[in-house]
Every structure is written in C-alpha cells, then in structure tokens.
Amino acid sequence: MSVDAFLMFVVVAFLVSLLFVLLGMLLSHRREKRTKVLTFECGQKPFEWPTLQFPIQYFPYLIIYVVYAVIAILILISLFYVFEIPDALMKITIFLAILTFSSIFLSMNLKRLVQKI
C-alpha cells in the first residue's frame, strides 16, 4: 500500500510540473521577434563570451572538497558500525577527536593558503 502511495505521488508530482508548462503554452500568446530570442544583455548588443571560465583563486577549496567528501563518507560508514556494535563507540570517539582537532588546525592555516596560490 505504501509503495502504491509513493508511485501515485511521483506521478502526480511530475504531472503537476508538466501541467504548469502545458498551461503556460496554452495561455500565452506567441509573436515571433528577432530580439526576443537573443541572449539577455542589459540593453546592450550581446558579445561573445568564452563558455568555460573557472575562477582559479578558489582552486584550493576544490582540493579540500575532495578530501572532506571522502571523510564525510568515512564518518557515515563508521556510524553504521556503531549502530551494529555499540561497544565500538570508543574507537569512533577517538577517530572523531583526531579528525576534529586536525580540522581545526587546518582551518587556522587555511587562511594563508588562499593567498599563496
């Protein structure tokens, strides 16, 4: 029964979103004009824009992201371990303590890291 409700909800959520677009197509008027389909440009003539630009000064954050995403997954797996075996909590606490103080140390040093690169 519950799966039934879920399926119905998925279908209804999709249909409502689709209904918005269909209603928009039905209710709106259409008048073709060259300037309408141009890219938005604050009243100026649109000029070329290189498609892929990346602010390099934030690159260190990307590296930190890769590290911390893995750490977050590790913590999650260790949480499952605690649910299964409650005695393992001591080891997890030590792991968390090391992680916490190392991250605090890292965050104190990170302020200089951005300017360096």
Binding site: A5, S17, R30, Y68, F83, S107, L110
Partner: protein, 356 residues
C-alpha cells in the same frame, strides 16, 4: 450520544454507497483509500501547495512589515491572500521564450525536473507518527539524496541557457552548494549518532524527552546555516543576486518555466523547515493543549514549529545584506566543517558518558 449519531451516519453512508453503480462506488472507495489520502491530500500534493502558497504570501507580508510597507492588499478578501494565484496566472500568460543559443532539450526539461525532484523530497518526510508517503529505514539518507540531486538540475539549467549571467550564477551556485553539502551532511550525522538510526520517525521518537537542539546545539546552528545556503536564501543568495547578475542562473527563464523554478525554491525552503523541526526541535512532540483533539495535536505542533523556522529564515532576508563569495567559502570550509565535527565529537562523548 455522539457514538449513536456516528453509527446512524455510517449506516446512512453504507445505504447511500450500496445504491450507487459499481464504477462510482469504486471511485468513492478509491478517494477514501490510504494511498490516495497520503499522496494527494495530507503529506502529499495539496498540503505542499497550500504550505508553499502560505509561505510565499507570508514572506511578502513579513518583508513589507519589516520595510514599513503594506504588502499585498487588494487581491483576495483578506490581506491579499490570493495575490499568489494572480501572480501565477500572470506568469502563465507570459510568452515562453527559448533563446536561440540555448540547448533546447535541456533548457526546457530542467524546470520540470527541478520542481518534480524538490516535491519528491516530501515523500520521505514523516509529518506525524505513520504519516509518511514512503516509509523507509533510511529516510534521512533518502531526503539527503533528493536535496543533493536537485542542485544538479539547476546547474544544468544555468549551463544550458548559454548566457554569461546564467553561467556566472551557475558557477557561484556550484561553489556554494558543494562547499555547504559537507557540513550539512556532518551536522545530520551528529543527530543520527544520537538517535542511532537513519529513520526519521525513530529520530523523532528518540526526542520524546529532550529535543536534540540541547545536546547538539552546535549541530543545529551549522545545520540551519548550511540549509539556508542550500536553498539560496539571503544572506547566501549569491547565485541569484539581482543587483549584480540580473537574476543569476534563471536570467533566461520566462513564464511558466520561471514559475516552476520559483515554486521549487519555496518547496525546498519548506522541506528545510520541516527537516529542521524533525531533526532538532522534537518533531510532533509537544505539550497537550486543552481545546485541540489529540489526533491532530502532533501535526499541529510539527506545523507550528516548522512555521517558526520558516519565519526565522524569512526574517533573515529583511535583516542581513548579502555576503561575498570568498567570505562564503571561508565560512563554509574554515568555520562550519570544524564546528560540525566538534558537534559530532560532543555527541559521541555524551553517549560515552551515558547522558544521551
């Protein structure tokens, strides 16, 4: 006395049903079924749309009060309650323009996908004991998955528009979301460690005595800040900063497509408010109130608490200015992640001592 009346009513209803033709009877029974009520009425569609409409009306009214204006006033009988319906009709009657440089299939499909996915998050949120569309043992992880998938549609939409404003907004959004997802996740991990479950219903049941906001106060602060950043509210609305980037990643969208993105943003805001209530504020637990029957008391407390959270989040827009991107990233990586890890450590130590 009242039970007699109910019996009479039930008999009358049974008589009425037996007199009807079979297809109509099946239809009435279908309307009465558990699946229909859950999917369409209470935790489902109608509740979501009503809640979102109320949120948007409340935001406009509240911001108006903050700025000493009147806000929506004329549409609807009282205080512009139907202003949103008028706005929806106006947006739907606008022309649907697809820019010539845009990648059309992606550009057209992303608003629909974004709205659907953010609405699907509600399927895993219990709004009362047993009142959940899809009961699951890992519902918290499922909610997190939905909250992590929705930004991807926004990234694709910003990229497929092929406009420089959309592109800058999209890059900002990517930085913001990916840097705030990690502390968001770690703050949730603290709650799951305290409740020893990923099931949202069990997490709420574990807070019957003491809401988790007290042992995990740091986690609550981190969670609220990251959640506000996830739904792009002020002071973290860099991706859609009107003053700098026209409208950020949704610059090129008009009419119904824009309405869908608008709707999705407010659905996400409501999801965040309800999730905060469930995780930290004790969910449907609350003191008895004499005039309210017990069957709706839980829902009443849950909705009241989430409305308070919505109020707090909306009030930020009237109070704070926007912060810059480097400060935002600094806050995320240098303050929030150590704080969330510290919160996790505190919770683990509290369990170790035996206080939780």
């Amino acid at each position: 006395m009242s039970s007699l009346i109910f019996q009479e009513l039930a008999r009358a209803a049974a008589n009425f049903l037996s007199g009807l033709p079979q297809p109509l009877k099946d239809f009435i029974l279908f309307l009465h079924s558990d699946a229909f009520i859950k999917a369409i009425i209470f935790p489902g569609l109608l509740f979501i749309l009503t809640f979102v409409m109320f949120t948007i009306w409340f935001e406009r009214k509240l911001l108006a009060r903050v700025m000493v204006r009147l806000g929506p006033l004329h549409v609807g009988k009282y205080a512009g309650l139907l202003q949103l319906v008028a706005d929806a009709v106006k947006l739907l009657s606008k022309e649907l323009i697809v820019p010539e440089k845009a990648i059309k299939p992606l550009y057209v499909s992303m608003p629909i996908l974004c709205c659907t996915l953010s609405m699907l998050t509600f399927a895993f949120l219990p709004l009362g004991p047993g009142w959940v569309i899809y009961p699951s043992d890992i519902s918290l992880l499922l909610v997190f998955v939905m909250l992590a998938i929705t930004p991807i549609t926004i990234l694709v939409a910003g990229w497929a528009s092929r406009s420089k404003y959309s592109f800058i907004g999209m890059v900002r959004f990517a930085f913001q979301v990916f840097s705030y997802e990690v502390p968001f996740f770690l703050a949730i991990a603290g709650v799951t460690l305290a409740a020893r479950s990923f099931n949202l219903e069990k997490i709420v049941e574990a807070q019957a005595g003491l809401p988790f906001i007290i042992p995990a106060l740091l986690g609550f602060i981190v969670f609220l800040i990251t959640a506000i950043a996830e739904v792009e509210r002020v002071p973290f609305d860099l991706p859609t900063a009107e003053q700098e980037l026209v409208s950020g990643w949704q610059t090129e969208y008009t009419g119904a497509y824009f309405a869908l993105f608008y709707l999705a943003a407010y659905i996400k805001l409501d999801v965040i408010a309800i999730l905060t209530t469930l995780l930290f504020l004790g969910g449907w637990h609350g003191p008895l109130i004499p005039n309210i029957p017990e069957s709706i008391l839980g829902h009443f407390w849950l909705i009241l608490k989430s409305l308070i959270v919505v109020f707090l989040v909306l009030l930020l827009r009237g109070v704070f200015p926007r912060i810059t991107l480097d400060k935002l990233l600094d806050l995320g990586w240098r303050v929030l992640i150590p704080l969330s890890l510290l919160n996790l450590l505190i919770v683990a130590i509290l369990i170790q001592i035996g206080l939780l």
